[in-house]
């Protein structure tokens, strides 16, 4: 079922291998951006198809991860605008916050971090995901987000401050001593 093009162009195979290798990273980025696993996986698949369709514009040996992240990010923003999913997301985030309440006495879970992440503004969330989680440089992250480096640095700094504040004030019990490993 392979197309003529795929059969006859070894570089396409190389591109596809690179693209498939970044899929888990795209999933993590999309999950962090949207907070919705189902939506995130749709985004990843659609972004992967867009990347494949645009593969002629990719320069082998450059940063496939940064290139595909930018595609996914742009697709995500266009989907938000088109489908107005932001409203649905906000409802979901509020719902998860309510769900947090019974577990306040416990040390923080990854879910706490996820909840805190989803409380950030979209720009700051994106920035801290790119720099703090994905490991991109400020320069790479700025290119992905199509903003000046200074703006990216500012967003990351504010996101970090927000996360520290949210996670510091989140628990009612101050359970920092509840160390369980």
């Amino acid at each position: 079922m392979m197309t003529e093009r795929t059969r006859t162009c070894p570089s396409d195979e190389g591109f596809r291998a690179e693209l498939l290798a970044v899929l888990p990273h795209l999933r993590a980025f999309a999950r962090g951006l949207s907070g919705r696993p189902d939506f995130a996986d749709d985004l990843v698949q659609e972004a992967a198809i867009k990347a494949w369709s645009a593969r002629d514009r990719y320069q082998p040996g450059t940063n496939m991860r940064a290139w595909t992240f930018a595609i996914l990010r742009n697709h995500y923003l266009s989907e938000l605008r088109r489908n107005k999913r932001q409203a649905a997301f906000d409802e979901g985030a509020a719902e998860r916050l309510l769900v947090m309440e019974p577990d306040q006495e416990a040390p923080l879970h990854l879910g706490d971090m996820e909840t805190a992440l989803q409380q950030l503004t979209p720009e700051r969330r994106e920035a801290v995901l790119l720099v703090g989680a994905s490991g991109f440089s400020y320069e790479e992250a700025a290119a992905i987000s199509e903003c000046p480096i200074g703006t990216m640095k500012s967003r990351v700094a504010r996101a970090r401050a927000d996360l520290a504040r949210i996670l510091d004030t989140h628990p009612r019990t101050g359970a920092t001593s509840s160390r369980t490993g």
Binding site: T3, D38, D41, A48, R96, V99, G111, T176, G181
Partner: protein, 72 residues
């Protein structure tokens, strides 16, 4: 509602399910010895937990889609 919660990382009430997504972040609010805030490692842990997930079955079709979408 519950179904959606089961899909996301945030499952604070599901203690009996002690998979990696429930990993505790005991010092997330305190600076670590290396000076990095605890939440910074927590953020990477959250991120990496998704990277380490096996791809869902729905991604099996992606290869076919890639082969079929030869439109550019």
């Amino acid at each position: 509602m519950v179904g959606e919660r089961e899909l996301v990382l945030n499952q604070p009430s599901g203690r009996k399910n002690c998979g990696k997504v429930h990993e505790l972040l005991p010092d997330v609010r305190k600076p670590r010895e290396d000076g990095e805030p605890g939440w910074a490692s927590g953020l990477r842990k959250l991120y990496n937990s998704v990277i380490e997930e096996p791809l869902p079955d729905s991604f099996q079709d992606l290869l076919k889609k890639l082969d079929d979408s030869d439109d550019d």
